[in-house]
Amino acid sequence: MLPLPASARLVTIFDTNVYHGISFERLRGLTERESTLGVFALASVWPCCELLTHCGDADDTRNGRARAAVERLLLHAGRDAPDGRHLRMHLDGENTLGLGLFNYQPEHDLREYNQIATVIRDLVKQHWHGTTEAQAALLEHIVRMVADKETAFVSDMAAVARVEATHDNSRQQARAKVVAELDGPDGVFLVAKRKVQETAARLNIALGDNETSGLAAIAAAGYPVAMHFLKRMTRRAIAFPEINWVHQQNSYWDFHMSFHAGWGATTQRRPMGTSYGRPRTSCGCDGGALGCFSHAT
């Protein structure tokens, strides 16, 4: 695990579109300024994956643009090492929540991040030539993984949009009632509670009602951007059931990114509250090209 430098005053994570849109010259100037001011850049895994999905197929019309964006990402969130430039990466949104609420250590995912960081380092170093079978297989795996995540997201949102009529209310009335609840003072708490339940189920953790409510309050306070984002998406899905989420699937990646704008990883079910600064625990990351800062406090 790589410690954050003592001089780090601010951690910054860029969205995919920044790396697409910024010139190398502008990024170099920005990176130099960050270095001077103690701003520490990390990458988020999903922008890496989003970009890599277009890097493997030479016939992909977005190939050149995506490769250039990966190079900018590595320039911004990388560090020089004898074997090439290593990418520094933050834990993804779902795992940030799992770690924060349940101290869940996503060892499998961290190993996968390490592979992704390594393939970025190596492909950039190779100037995208001479792709090995293992690299090609990983790129294909990433394409499938991204597609699977997007398909699951579309399916989840379709399920959210399905509001059934009740004994007392027609389907339209039931829909209006849920929207009103989401617009009320407990709207964020309600979606946070659902997210806590989903996360606990995914991790095979049994929770009582009181415990779920307590964790929902922590999630709402500790991951405010993500939970407000989720509330907005949930409300849209229910209020406008005609939305085709296939055309909105980028929202899934935005949702993941939104976890970064929060207190970040937590331990012992309490928000850290005091940001990044010093490493606290080992994350199981075995080094390589990945520097995981998710357990830093």
Binding site: R9, P224, S258, A261, P271
Partner: protein, 52 residues
């Protein structure tokens, strides 16, 4: 509440302005002041208005 969380997402131009004016600490303090406790020191930087 809206103002509290919106502060943690920054547009690229705003971010560059923060760097060029060397106001990192001021910005972090402003974000921290908008939150109930702790300094939010992770910023997501985007080039578009997010739909959030």
């Amino acid at each position: 509440m809206e103002a509290r969380w919106a502060a943690s997402v920054m547009q690229l131009e705003e971010y560059e302005d923060m760097l060029s004016r060397s106001i990192v600490d001021e910005r972090v303090q402003a974000i921290a002041a908008q939150l109930s406790e702790g300094a939010m020191k992770v910023l997501k930087v985007s080039t578009q208005s997010s739909d959030i």
